[in-house]
Symmetry: D2
Subunit: 151 residues, 4 copies
DNA sequence: TTTT
DNA sequence: TTTT
């Protein structure tokens, strides 16, 4: 018997993805994602931010390492998983993570450049009055194919 | 700035909802929900169950108290919220909950009876070879209206 | 540039799936699905039914042919696709379909039997006061593996 | 009995919203939305665009008229509805629409300015190397409150 | 054309 | 702690 366990988030990365390599060359990327909600209370605009622990595996982790960076806006689809572990003092703790199944970059075209040339990319952007047309999305993780030029 | 924080679950209640009443007569219902996923590993069928802490507020909590019970199958839509608290020993802990925004009962018609007559409902059901036709869904929480006869 | 195009439905099949086999042995299954919404208007309970054209391809079509039948309750995840075509009189028409990516059977265990023994299944059910415990879900389409015993 | 009928889209507006006012001062906004999907076929990058007819009612239509414009990137949540009608020649036709329940603007902060000053906004943007920080989202339609300054 |  |  099976069920449904689905999470859909749109938010900004709080940090660059941290990538580890496990046995058998398996990649795991993880990073915090902030989703913000704003509402009115007593006439004031309140903004409430929720932080999520995102985890990506294998091919998806590799694309994340390449295209995701602190501050970027991203759509993530995944599932909830709660792990239990003991901290250094031996106390049992729980951590709930979102295991991502695919993601889509949201934002301007210039946000979709790979990370390695991050120094130059900030100057390469050259945004102009035309930048408005460059809004778009880059989708990852639906297929398992290698995609070096995903958009 | 706002984002998207959405969870969609289909699973079974692990316990009856526990309902508390806060100041100002605000109801809060909470219960664990199991979503199961099964997959093949080395030719064996593995079933993995994930447990979620569901929280419902106000009107939704009242309907939950009335219609949800341990074992029932339910569709839940909500958002993630992580609270931090200190346990009895003063250690900081985190708890991630799904704050439900609406739910839909899935299952047979006889599952949609209110909870108070649970003793009689088990006999009132009179399931037969025709029971197959009684599968259906009962939806809650989309409107804020009082719904004493929601289906 | 990519985007998000996602549909989530829970409803009943209006007919048995119709399966065709295209060139290269590609299977396509299609069937109508009803999702019902009920609300109060002027003190009366109104039920509004929406019909969706569901299409499933390849492996998913084969599992659909095996496990889905008129009347069954199912969770479907997919994407929207609008096709244009000319009817017999040469008038241009549009048809919007949901191309399913995975589905999960909702209902009692006895609903999860393959279709070929449909005659016997109606008597094999033997529902009792215990039948309540038999609610569950059977998930399909997440992996591309052959699954002859999917639950 | 009720079910689930949910659509989640992220895409660009193909035109400015067209707003009509029905009897009783009810607003209806409608516009086409493009969601694009790209995949590799025979080593070539194929981009396939799907067009959706979006409809928004009442308060949501008013916010749409104010903040949505041709080209903007938006997250939309809603439900499917298929209407039948007769064209001028008396032929029966079907139109499937997404009735939006809420939406969130995605893109740069400068995209979140109201529509009336569209001429100046293109110059007011003054994007810079810092523009990267201005990515964000503005959410609408969750509450029914008036929101003149929604972010 | 489903389901209640 | 559910369900199969």
């Amino acid at each position: 018997m099976s069920g449904v366990n689905k999470v859909i988030l749109i938010g900004h990365l709080g940090k660059d993805p941290e990538v580890r390599h496990l046995d058998g060359n398996v990649s795991v990327a993880s990073f915090p994602l902030a989703t913000s909600e704003s509402y009115n209370k007593d006439g004031k605009r309140i903004e409430q931010t929720e932080w999520h622990n995102i985890v990506m595996w294998r091919g998806l982790a590799d694309v994340a390492a390449k295209y995701l960076q602190k501050g970027k806006l991203v759509y993530i689809e995944g599932k909830l998983r709660t792990r239990s572990f003991e901290d250094k003092e031996g106390h049992k703790k729980y951590s709930t993570e979102i295991v991502a199944e695919n993601f889509t970059l949201l934002g301007r075209k210039t946000d979709f450049e790979p990370n390695n040339n991050s120094a130059s990319s900030s100057t390469a952007a050259e945004p102009s009055a035309e930048a408005n047309k460059n809004l778009g999305t880059g989708e990852f993780g639906k297929d398992e194919d290698e995609r070096d030029l995903p958009f």
